[in-house]
Symmetry: C2
């Protein structure tokens, strides 16, 4: 797992999300990605959990490259502290930590490939 | 189409590839991506052309994040001038042009999604 702690280190602000609260829902407009500073977040699609993000992980990264709305729902499963990162902040942080560019490319490739596996193995409806 | 001309601007060196010559073949070890400075390159998988890369475009970008061998064959279809970029050079160029990180994420998402479409629509053999 790539290390995204640089995102947390350069955070301007954090958001407290109590256990059980939804961070965003499928269909919401998407403008920021989130890094998990503390706690745990479950990502689900159509009610099915597809990933669990813990401290040091990120989610919502498609918002950096795509104007479309959220394709999944994210819910805090512990009391959680998140760092929201928009495009401008992302560019600024990548400039200070250029290795993050490749980490994000790898993350994207891994998640897209996992999503594809699920699509292929799920029954057609 | 994202603009990758910054890769060309910061090039240490270029490679001349005559029309018809193979740049790399499926199964070759992968250490650099290529930006097209001049000319045209066809990318093919199992003998089928899947993409054509022109001036300002890039190919072989999976080498930045994945140690596996080339998954496609690249052939110059015009007399072509290429800029090879390895990981160290990529990090250095991204530091100078942080917007490139998001351009590469978008490129990766687009290509992986196109590859999935092909896999899904192709007859099972």
């Amino acid at each position: 797992m790539a290390d995204f702690s640089a995102l947390v280190r350069h955070a301007d602000k954090t958001i407290q999300v109590p256990r059980g609260q939804v961070v965003f829902s499928e269909g919401d407009s998407a403008r920021v990605l989130y890094a998990v500073k503390r706690g745990r977040v479950q990502v689900s699609i159509d009610g099915q959990v597809v990933e669990e993000i813990v401290e040091g992980g990120v989610f919502g990264e498609m918002s950096l490259i795509d104007e479309r709305s959220r394709s999944a729902t994210a819910t805090a499963v512990d009391d959680t502290e998140l760092v929201p990162v928009d495009r401008e902040q992302f560019d600024r942080i990548v400039q200070l930590n250029p290795f993050l560019a490749r980490s994000f490319m790898r993350l994207l490739a891994d998640r897209l490939s996992a999503m594809n596996e699920r699509l292929r193995s799920s029954p057609q409806t």
